[in-house]
Amino acid sequence: MTLVKLSASALAIAVMATGASAQTRNQVQITGSSTVLPYATIVAEAFGENFDFPAPVVEGGGSGAGRAKLCEGVGENTVDIANSSSRIKQSDIDTCKANGVNDIMEVRIGYDGIVFASDVAGPAFAFTPADIYNALGGQVAKDGALVANANTTWAQVNSALPDQKILAFIPGTRHGTREVFDTKVIVAGCKETGAFDLFKAANADDEAKATELCNTLRTDGVSVDIDGDYTETLARLDADKTAIGVFGLSFYENNTNKLQVATMSGVVPTTESIAAGDYPVSRPLYFYVKMAHIGVIPGLEEYINFFVSDDMAGPDGPLAQYGLVSDPELAATQEMVANKVAMGPLE
């Protein structure tokens, strides 16, 4: 009777499930930032091709979630590497310690540029952080006083900009990109326009409060938070061609048929201008390795060494071709990875 056979095989699977859980995992497990995800998959794919290990499994899901998973504990059922587009926080390190994850290796793989882009057929834009702040900030400085932002076109912000209505798609607050956008563009613009000093004066010289007020963007629908990924921003931009979107440099470089990039303070974002430090809006990308797993999970040590090798992360490597700005101090990173140096306390 088929039913008997089926039940027997079901039982067999259940037995195996409990018995085989003791076997070693033979591939590296990676999770974290969706910004680092394409770079990690490029390396994982090349690693699978060139080594006798299976390609590592790479998941996205966000920097914070990835670091939290890294800190869940030590053992085969926990991840080996967390990709992150922002630096690890003390709270993460504390969680790690509490769960027995003592040694973490911090590897900086390079830099990522954040660009402003608009529809390719529309007018070109040349921004400064002050322009962005005056367009999107909740309160702006006008004749030495703080007023609610009433600008509706870019030309009102800066007469050199096109006479086009202001509409910006910016990364939502759960993105690591938003942090960079806030500090490198909004706060910088806030200081440039003098609004920062006014905020500070109004709040008894409280710098933190002033920064917070700078980061309070206008809520009248002119600045739209996008919580999805860059493909969503691109789709929104396609639907409303007068908008400005915030993208990663690599995303823009793969979609130059639809997007044109805006300059920031007169600098065109390229891997070269970011590497030289001319383009202001960039941030380092990291991955964090659970050192207790090195030597236990097959291929983990080889993978991290391969990732930082010149063949991958170097200035002519595939990662740079995809849009990663190669780290000028890559040689030091390679040495650190080869010597398996754990990260010290955050300064």
Binding site: M1, L3, L6, S7, S9, A10, I13, M16, A17, T18, A20, S21, Q23, R25, Q27, Q29, T31, S34, L37, P38, A40, T41, I42, A44, E45, A46, G48, E49, N50, D52, P54, A55, P56, V57, V58, E59, G60, G61, E76, N77, V120, G228, D229, Y230, T231, S250, F251, E253, N254, N255, T256, N257, D311, P318, Q321, Y322
Partner: protein, 453 residues
């Protein structure tokens, strides 16, 4: 009758005025009009749903059908010894030290030399541009071929490798010259050369078997991305779901329907099963993470955990469907069996279950079809990931990482290269195809075995 009497045309005395049936009075006219309007609403509703379906199918097919065709380049490659086997001893271990980067350079040089020897005249075309027309996947393909057969070194072999995604996109109409000027991944000169290569038969477009068999690829090579791992993962999960849900679901249903006493406890179970069927599938994902991965220690991203979670998603639906079809077997069959001396269990297994089987199978297949399209519960157990290596054959393969078809659709839709949009829609077509097959099997089973009383 009172409303009739107040209707126009009726006499005040309540006596019906005789009139012919052939004569349409106002009331009949109103009733007919209401009925006509109701039919019209129905037709409009159907028209709206059909047009939405047509629109969806049209967008998916117009975006995705091109994923089933792929451009590839054929040219001779001389496998020079000093580059591929510097030690010269054909030792596989030592040859493996030459990475795909070395192979990639060799292929680019060979292809550029071959194109130049053909005498195409394209202004401004450099060797680097010619080399970049090859897919990055080509080097891995040739490297594997050489490592499998080291005797190839020193000879000249004909290879057929994939063309770069942009060249492929040009042949499919996704990339044009105007855009190529702005695109740093492709130049108009390369497109000019593409036209010439197509004329010469060096560049050909053929059915894309690789789309069904290859694993996922990184963002730099959309041309080599395939559904191989996803199809295997989905198939493994369906196997696990089938093997687990059918016996558990049928056994539970038979017991509840035929043997269980009717009391508050079985009522409670019944209510719970109905409620579980309505629980969002992501909840089962959280449960799977907590129980199967964190507690039982099963490997994450594996199709085993995925299958177990989908089993939980399917079970309530299957139990409900099975109970319904057992209940549909007339009591007279049971009475007859019991009457001639069969035991309760004989009655169930010899008479009730065979008659209920078509319904059970249909319910099971439809539940499997739903499970095939589930993404949410897989998100939490690590199956929404880049998996670059095929899982091995069962049973070992159940423990190895894999993805699933809907996961691949989602993953590709968020990639930056526009070529992945085509792949994503192509994956939807494959998914729809599998769903269609499963539903067709359900219909055939029902038609063949259905018994009417």
């Amino acid at each position: 009758m009172t409303d009739l009497s107040s209707a126009p045309g009726a006499t005040p005395a309540g006596v019906r005025k005789p009139h012919s049936l052939y004569e349409v009075d106002a009331l009949t006219k109103r009733r007919n009009a209401t009925e006509f309007r109701f039919r019209l609403y129905g037709i409009i509703a159907i028209a709206i749903s059909l047009s939405v379906l047509a629109l969806m199918l049209f967008t998916i097919f117009s975006d995705g059908i091109s994923a089933f065709r792929q451009a590839s380049l054929s040219f001779p490659v001389t496998l020079t010894e000093e580059k591929l086997d510097p030690a010269g001893n054909r030792n596989r271990e030592e040859m493996a030290k030459v990475t795909t980067i070395g192979y990639s350079n060799l292929l680019k040089e060979n292809f550029a030399a071959y194109v130049n020897s053909q005498g195409f005249e394209v202004e401004g075309l450099t060797d680097a541009m010619i080399g970049d027309m090859l897919s990055r996947d080509a080097a891995a393909q040739v490297r594997n071929q050489v490592l499998a057969d080291p005797e190839l070194i020193g000879t000249t072999i004909d290879v057929t490798v994939l063309a770069n995604g942009r060249i492929d996109g040009y042949l499919k109409g996704r990339v044009n010259r105007e855009e190529a000027l702005r695109d740093k991944n492709v130049t108009p000169e390369q497109l000019d050369l593409t036209d010439k290569l197509v004329d010469q038969g060096i560049l050909t477009v053929a059915f894309n078997w690789g789309f069904m068999t290859r694993p996922d690829a990184s963002d730099q090579r959309p041309e080599s991305a395939g559904l191989g791992v996803a199809i295997l993962g989905s198939a493994y999960m369906m196997m696990i779901v089938l093997v687990l849900t059918l016996p558990i679901g049928v056994a539970a249903s038979i017991y509840l329907e035929e043997f269980a006493p009717k009391n508050w406890f079985t009522d409670l179970i019944e209510v719970n099963i109905s409620n579980l069927a309505a629980v969002p599938s992501i909840v089962f994902g959280i449960l799977g993470l907590a129980v199967f991965i964190n507690f039982a220690g099963l490997p994450q991203s594996s199709s085993l955990v995925g299958g177990l979670v989908l089993t939980l998603v399917c079970l309530p639906t299957i139990i409900i469907a099975t109970r319904a079809s057992i209940r549909a077997v007339p009591p007279s069959i049971r009475d007859a069996a019991l009457g001639v001396g069969a035991s309760k269990m004989q009655t169930v297994f010899h008479h009730v279950l065979p008659l209920a089987m078509p319904g059970i199978l249909t319910g099971t297949i439809l539940a499997l079809a739903t499970a095939l399209g589930e993404t949410a519960p897989l998100l939490l157990i690590g199956m929404v990931a880049f998996v670059g290596t095929h899982p091995s054959a069962p049973i070992q393969g159940f423990f190895e990482p894999a993805t699933a078809l809907p996961v691949q659709v989602y993953g590709w839709a968020s990639r930056s290269d526009p070529a992945f949009l085509e792949r994503s829609s192509g994956a939807v077509i494959v998914l729809l195809f599998f769903l269609l097959i499963m539903n067709a099997i359900a219909i055939i089973l029902r038609r063949r075995f259905e018994r009417r009383w």
